[in-house]
Symmetry: C3
Subunit: 254 residues, 3 copies
């Protein structure tokens, strides 16, 4: 869909978003599962954003109203979180701020898939998920048509990531196999997309930037890691040290 | 109880289980406490298994029905988890799959001890715990008799681990003192026992394999660590890189 | 407020507390948020204390009754925790043991601020918080007067920490900028203050010791870190290896 010149422009746009993220340090409110909370908060901090994580229905409205973006991750599906999600999506919509939906494991749970469909109707700026989760939502229909119908950008993670919607499509070949050996890596990718949305109104570009940052950081960490333990430490270090030139130089965008 | 030739056979059996674990990548559903969730999921991933962690009563039945083994850890004792445990044990029993009971800190909480007794009657394939927890359940009675009465295998962790039940007993002297300086190490041991049960029907052998893997990985990590931080990273790396030859060579089985 | 000779005495007192902490290995019960639980438990273990973390109203009373100190952190504000806090503060008061209040993010949530005020009236030995949180509680009034009215010691974290109350005041200039790039660092500081209170009746000295240990460990970790990932591993290692001489030598007390 793109001429080669676009490819360099995409990496450059992602680098600009990285710099704005560092400059603004946006606050991203995260409703996420208890397995992923600590890792997600630390990924945001390493990248230069500020996390807030409360899921209490009593107070989440205020936290989201003052945040720059919202992440809704369905990885823990309990009663309190369902109530919190309802309030948070209302608050972020009222504030005119962007949000990301991460429908974790909806392919294994009809209740989560049902909730994901309801939430999709409320117009997340981006939907970050894997192939099995996307198949559950799209029912195998044409993916660009799916994005158009739901007025969202889809950031599909896999060995090669694909970001599409609004007539644009790009694939990213960065990353490292050890990313699949650490829990909550996908959740962290969604959180970075939310952080990028806080500084970039174009959701397609923001999604690309979030996945590219994580993929490049993973690639750098993977070059020195001896396994998932040193890799986890290394990906935080790499995200923290990531600069615009490295992002552009290493981007495998096609 | 064993002639020396058995000892080599035990380490060999554990090495075979490690290889099957890597080949099958079984899914282990874990009901565990919020302190241990992330660490447990990452230990399973490092070893080659797939974790799933939901504790929501609404959906846990489906998650467990499709899993290869179940871990029930009592380290968080809240109302939702008690309900989830009831559903999960029913589902795993109906599916004919094995499960492990880890009765964390029942020596400090009569309510947990009561729940542990109820769960023990539902026949976990293995019971992984420490000496104080075992004393609470067994009341100081003969340990082999306890295992026989409850038709389970007991994997007793300590400076030296002891695995017994069904007329067999073995002790493992692997491990490292820094394992006691990281929270949730016992919970992770129980998760590895569950992962081994998913690929080995003999619960005594599976228990031995799970504890041996973690003990040897801990020993390797301890040789390079400067404290619990580098040790934690190192044990994930060591579990990930562990091969059959190393497991056999380092096994301190007696 | 102090002559120079006091400064050396403060560092010496902190070093004595560190040695008593290692010798006694006190149990600190922590009511803390799900983002911070694992990190907090590991910080306590690295320093030489024993964490217990249950927040279940059914059993927390027994856990706290047998503990040496209690931490109450308001970072997760859910219904079950509010009930657990009520029981735990009652139990610790009945047992005559000290507790620490950490009113996380009360500047963003009136409900949390309200709860913090109620808890402050129940006389925590120490209040560990940041400047924005303190301003919410004190309303900008004189800080020494605030401490006197509430009969507590205030441990105010920031680029320079300040500990005051009971007519004494000290500032600590240890620490490292990467401490702000890892979530739950403040929660961990509060947990260390609680651990020090378990071995030192003078809450001002205990608060100073807790913040000094973490600040010095952070400084050591920061000298070798390449980013927040290696820094997190390094701070656990440094806390574990910290000795009295290093604490005294590196203390930047004024």
């Amino acid at each position: 869909m793109h001429a080669p010149k676009d490819v360099g422009a995409h990496a450059q746009a992602a680098a600009d978003i990285l710099l704005r993220l560092r400059a603004k340090a946006p606050r991203v409110h995260c409703i996420t599962n208890s397995v992923a909370q600590n890792f997600t908060a630390n990924v945001l901090l390493a990248a230069g954003a500020q996390p807030s994580m409360t899921i209490s229905p009593e107070e989440i409205g205020q936290f989201v109203a003052g945040a720059d973006a919202l992440l809704v991750n369905l990885g823990t599906f309990d009663r309190e979180r369902a109530e919190a999600i309802e309030i948070a999506v209302g608050a972020v919509t009222a504030a005119g701020k962007p949000w990301v939906l991460d429908p974790v494991l909806i392919d294994r749970s009809p209740q989560r898939a049902e909730l994901a469909r309801t939430l999709l109707a409320r117009r997340p700026a981006a939907l970050r998920l894997n192939a099995a989760e996307f198949a559950t939502l799209s029912g195998g229909k044409d993916r660009e048509a799916f994005a158009v119908v739901h007025s969202t950008i889809v950031a599909l993670s896999g060995p090669t990531d694909v970001i599409f919607g609004g007539g644009r499509l790009v694939s990213l070949a960065n990353g490292h196999p050890l990313m699949a050996r650490i829990t909550a890596m996908g959740c962290a990718a969604s959180a970075l997309v939310a952080a990028c949305l806080a500084v970039e109104a174009d959701a397609w570009r923001a999604s690309l930037a979030g996945l590219l940052m994580l993929g490049v950081a993973g690639e750098i960490a993977g070059e020195k890691a001896e396994g998932p333990g040193s890799f986890a430490a290394g990906i935080f270090d790499a995200l923290y040290r990531l600069d615009a030139a490295t992002l552009i130089e290493r981007a495998k965008v096609a």
